[in-house]
Amino acid sequence: MQTARFKRVSEQDRNPIRLLIDGQVVKALDGDSLLVAVLTSGPVLRQSEFGDGSRAGFCLMGACQDCWMWTADGQRIRACTTPAREGMSVLTQPPSEALWPIPA
């Protein structure tokens, strides 16, 4: 397994949840944002569409939009402001090229 980026410092007594990231099971805790759920189990969130490598979010306050992920049906979600939920399934890339680019 790849190393986690974020380190939990407390509040670890919460109920465990499981979600699917690109089809892989990821364990997280109830109350995590999607961004935290992903980054406490791996190092990155997504690939930059401009070929300059991976990204792992930046502002965490819903302003930079650098933490977009996608649902299987093509809905774009902002990982830093979306709560992680049991059974949630998300993708690190848009499911269809036709959906990108989406105008701001």
Partner: protein
Amino acid sequence: MADPRIIVVGAGPAGVRAAECLVEAGLRPIVIDEASFSGGQIYRRQPRNFTRSYESLYGFDAAKARALHGAFDGLKDAVDYRPDTLAWNIAGNVLHTVSDGVARAIEFDAAILATGATDRLAPIKGWTLPGSYSLGGSQIALKAQACGIGARVVFMGTGPLLYLVAYQYAKAGVEVAAVLDTSPLSAQAKAMADLVVRPDFLARGLYFRAQLMARRVTVRNGITPIEVIGQSSVEGVRYRTADGREHRIECDAVAMGFHLRSETQLADLAGCPFVFDEATGQWRPEKDGDGRTGRPGIYVAGDGAKVLGADAAETAGRLAALAAMKDLGRSVEEAEMDRLRGKMRRFDRFRRGLATAFPWPAGLVRQVEDDVIVCRCEVITAGQIRETACAKGAPEMNRTKALSRVGMGRCQGRFCGSAAAEILAEVRGRDLSEVGRLRGQAPVKPLSVSTIVEKAE
């Protein structure tokens, strides 16, 4: 006559106090916030199933946080509170919102914009590597999610929040590799005369610094950032100290911020005139001492109007609400308004002190190398901006945006705007104020493609 409809955008310190003041006068304002909980940035709440105490979350500000949360919770039945709702445009006297994919158009008699601020960023080589975060973002990870952004963190930039967040990390048990401040200590000395108007805050700043030093954290002033190093992830930071020597420090995360910038897009879309603020090199909505903008019916308060901090935001929120009611023909207590204005003057003096103590590093930004990415969204480099400014002759920001796409990406210039303006001003040999500012665009943040058509209210 029916009661006037007043909308407050933002449920941080400014918005909460504005709403409270309106309720005291017998009105029922609509309060809109994109976040799920009230509190804003400084008093951001943790999810309901977290158990840390106010003291551990907010430190010196615990009592104020409790008071602000209590005040808003007490208004539950008296306001029309709409959390998880983005205000994305203002056209005429109509505010456009979206919540859970449903758009609404709400007519108003007055709107109080209390939209707060985000980090102000300067581009540094390598700042797009996974593991680099905005300073505010690093605090949110800790405060709202009980996580550190890494195991060994460098805090780089300038401003009072740099020391506060580094201290909070150290206290939470995360290793702080270094605090690297671009402002020289001499600047802080020069600012003393203004900073002493808030001795408690001055003392806090010194306390955080002393605490970091006591934990043997490297604290450097007057540094020049060179590079965030790493292959596919942050591995360290290179910087130069004032004596010209280069240093390298290992870390797996960097938190960066150069004080704050106001969220002004809604005021811009509403047609409020803007002024250039020399002290910070930023544009902000023009307002009188009470928060009235140049657009009748539109008021601004808190960090979204001018970055003065949380206590000032509470005062300004209340003052703007009183001004709005006065303009709508309600009787308000002039004596109270006078008292609040007096407080605002003291906050403004402190702000001047902070701008002197922790200046935006314009010189460093202007010298950023050509291959450094300025626009994180669309990967546009400093070189491309310079080329556009020279070869294509873009004289001001919106032209540069059209030609180079800088500021056109999904963050809409929030994180590249300050730097792009400096670079453009330097290349064109103009004053910063002459290259203008990126105009606000609706929607102020990207909307989901599946947003349902509007319902009018």
